[in-house]
């Protein structure tokens, strides 16, 4: 086939212009398009409110002023942002490897259970040992729960979408069994576990608010995940496997090993989210410890274009929405679940605006 290559002739002047143009395009894609997606979603949310007889604008102002009312309310936002950022960051890694882990919710429960079990079992440990121990237990449990789906995918070609969702239900049901059975606090009337030993509680960073050290760990891990994905050899392999399994094999990478690695990392992050909820917020295991953070994390990752540092911002944004929706519910009787609608629309807008350009070449074993 006769081929006419359209070669460009670079010159010094156009180089600088090109550079500026590139920087502009990058900024546009990283900031403006997600922002537009959020605006569209908020607009749709407002429209939905208006159609159902609420005053969208009033609610919006009430919401914002409520969310940023005082230190306590801001601390509450960050408290909610912590699990969202953690899960979103983990999913960035999984999605970059084209692994559709929809099971962060279950992995969060697995982490919460492990943290509880460890956190009530060893009296006499000092905080310096006990807090890292319960956190580690949560992360490992989350990773192990996710790895089940990874192994099922590798050895039985079972779609991780279905298996992770099923593992969600199983984890939630198992938790319900644990708090009514083996882990039930004998003294309590309600199904709940005993309280974590004091030494296992995560330190607070902004007393008298409930904000604990978890938010700082989440941000640090987001940056670490960014470095892993984009600066380390192992992260590079994860990305190549996610984009092109053929090229990965050509390069001598093991597709299976990277799939397992990516899904375990995302599971560990979700497990951490569960650990932090227990060791930092509730100090007990309950039946419904997560209001759907695991599913919200999907929107967090996608809005961030699977960039872990971006997930810090998108996670915080969703936390603001979540806090705001609680305020809406109290002050304006607007059902809080509006948040899920907005998340759904955020994902669709992100897809529609083409922010989510990330190639989804699925491994074709």
């Amino acid at each position: 086939m006769a081929n006419i290559d359209s070669e460009r002739s670079p010159s010094a002047g156009s180089d600088i212009l090109n550079g500026l143009g590139r920087a502009f395009t990058k900024t546009w894609q990283a900031v403006a398009m997600p922002a537009a997606a959020v605006l569209v979603s908020m607009g749709c949310g407002a429209l939905l409110l208006a159609l159902n007889g609420f005053n969208g604008w009033d609610i919006f102002t009430v919401m914002l002023s409520g969310v940023f009312q005082d230190t306590r309310s801001i601390a509450e936002v960050l408290l909610k942002a912590t699990p969202l950022i953690l899960i979103g960051v983990g999913l960035c890694v999984a999605f970059r490897c084209s692994i559709w882990n929809i099971g962060a919710e279950g992995q969060l429960y697995a982490g919460a259970v492990a943290t509880t079990a460890v956190g009530i079992a060893f009296p006499g440990l000092t905080s310096w040992i006990y807090v890292p121990l319960v956190i580690l237990a949560g992360a490992l449990a989350g990773a192990a729960w996710a790895a089940i789906a990874g192994l099922l995918k590798i050895y039985f070609r079972a779609s991780e979408i279905v298996t992770t969702i099923m593992l969600n239900y199983i984890a939630i049901i198992a938790t319900s069994w644990l708090v009514t059975g083996p882990l039930k606090d004998a003294a309590a009337a309600y199904p709940q576990s005993a309280r974590l030993l004091r030494e296992a509680w995560m330190p607070k960073i902004l007393p008298p608010t409930r904000l604990h050290i978890g938010i700082l760990i989440a941000i640090a891990l987001a940056i670490a995940a960014y470095i892993f994905l984009f600066r380390s050899s192992a992260g590079y392999a994860v990305r190549v496997v996610g984009i092109s399994p053929h090229a990965a094999r050509y390069a001598g990478m093991s597709v299976s090993r990277n799939i397992l690695l990516a899904i375990s990392i995302s599971g560990a992050m979700a497990g951490l989210a569960g650990a932090f909820e227990i060791a930092g917020v509730t100090f007990r295991l309950y039946q419904n410890i997560s209001p759907g953070y695991g599913f919200e994390g999907i929107a967090v990752a996608l809005l961030a274009n699977n960039n872990p540092v971006g997930a810090i911002f998108s996670g915080t944004l969703f936390a603001v929405l979540r806090s705001g929706s609680e305020i809406m519910q109290i002050n304006a009787q607007v059902p809080q679940v509006l948040v899920s609608v907005i998340q759904g629309i955020v994902i669709l807008s992100v897809v529609g605006f083409g922010v989510y350009r990330f190639r989804s070449a699925r491994p074709s074993e």
Binding site: L48, N52, W100, I102, L152, F156, R157, A158, S159, I161, V162, T163, I165, M166, L167, Y169, I170, I173, A174, S176, W177, T180, G181, F295, I298, A299, L302, V334, P335, V337, L338, V339, S340, V341, I342, Q343, G344, I345, I347, L348, V351, G352, Y356, S360, R362
Partner: protein, 310 residues
């Protein structure tokens, strides 16, 4: 055990099996259509919720079961249109859009329910059982097969219709080809996109109907997230059934049996099984089903792949 497994127990369990399988039958046969055309819709859980809510709300306000079912189908189809717009026309990733559909379905129905119904607490009248004279009174079989409502019997109709459409009409023939070799369909002069829209609309309409069964044929109430994973289980049913409507019917029955056993055994405190273990049964069996079907030769080759002309 002797006092538990009686004829009566078996008859009740069989009857419950079919009833509990019904929503799965609708949703999974719908998904068979969609996946046969190459479109993987993991959002049917959300679509079922929309159907469940639309049916419930319509019957609540109008009292008409027929209108309720119609609105459930329409609600499902509307979700299908949205899904098709993003996956077929915009060619976005089907999994990402499916995840969005689930969030939308869950959020939208819960929002509307809490806005309009939560304070009423009132249910609707569910579809009445059609007692077939003579047959319903038969011992054993009557209980198991002839005391159901129209939506349960409807599953038979859907299976037959699905087999007929897929295997006896030109539409079905082309639809099966679209998921396997879209280029051949294109060259034969049919629009791949149109057929995929058709398949997705059928799939989502049926998922809507399956959702409506939950509020209009099973319980008389809408509850947030009432589908409780049936949409996802339906995805596994389709794989286990190897993309066949008849297979989907029987695999759904199998899962119906798990649900029925779970309910029946929960009513037997003598067994000392924690009820959560039974509750988890359908979900564990779903994973087991995926492990069992290692051989995926029947998977439509172009499942999940957007078609680009030329």
């Amino acid at each position: 055990m002797d006092d538990i497994v009686t004829l009566g127990f078996i008859a009740t369990t069989l009857g419950a099996t079919w009833r509990l399988a019904a929503p799965l039958v609708y949703a999974s046969i719908g998904e068979v259509f969609s996946e046969r055309a190459g479109v993987l819709n993991i959002g049917i859980e959300g679509v079922m919720l929309v159907g469940a809510f639309a049916g419930f709300a319509t019957v609540f306000w109008t009292g008409s079961l027929a209108l309720g079912l119609l609105m459930a189908v329409a609600g499902g189809a509307l979700m299908g249109l949205l899904f098709g717009l993003f996956t077929i026309t915009i060619k976005a990733d089907q999994i990402v859009v499916g995840a969005a559909m689930n969030l939308l379905g869950l959020g939208l129905t819960a929002f509307l329910y809490r806005t309009y119904f939560v304070s009423t607490g009132r249910g609707v009248e569910i579809a009445p059982s059609l007692n077939l004279p003579g047959l319903s009174d038969l011992p054993f079989v009557g209980e198991a097969f002839f005391r159901h409502n129209i939506l349960v019997y409807g599953t038979l109709l859907v299976v037959i219709a699905a087999v007929f459409i897929l295997h006896r009409t030109s539409f079905g023939l082309t639809l099966r080809a679209v998921g396997e070799h879209p280029k051949a369909v294109d060259i034969a002069g049919r629009s791949v996109a149109l057929y995929r829209y058709g398949a997705v609309l059928i799939g989502c309409s049926l998922a809507g109907l399956g959702g409506a069964y939950l509020t209009l044929g099973h319980s008389n109430q809408f509850v947030e997230g009432i589908a409780s994973g049936r949409g996802f289980i339906a995805l596994a049913v389709v794989v286990f059934a190897r993309w066949s409507p008849i297979g989907a019917f029987f695999v759904s029955l199998l899962f119906g049996l798990f649900y029925a056993l779970q309910l029946q055994l929960q009513a037997q405190p003598a067994l000392h099984i924690p009820y959560q273990a039974l509750q988890a049964l359908p979900y564990v069996m779903t994973i087991a089903a995926l492990i069992l079907v290692r051989n995926r030769v029947d998977t439509p080759s172009m499942l999940g792949v957007p078609y680009r002309k030329g």
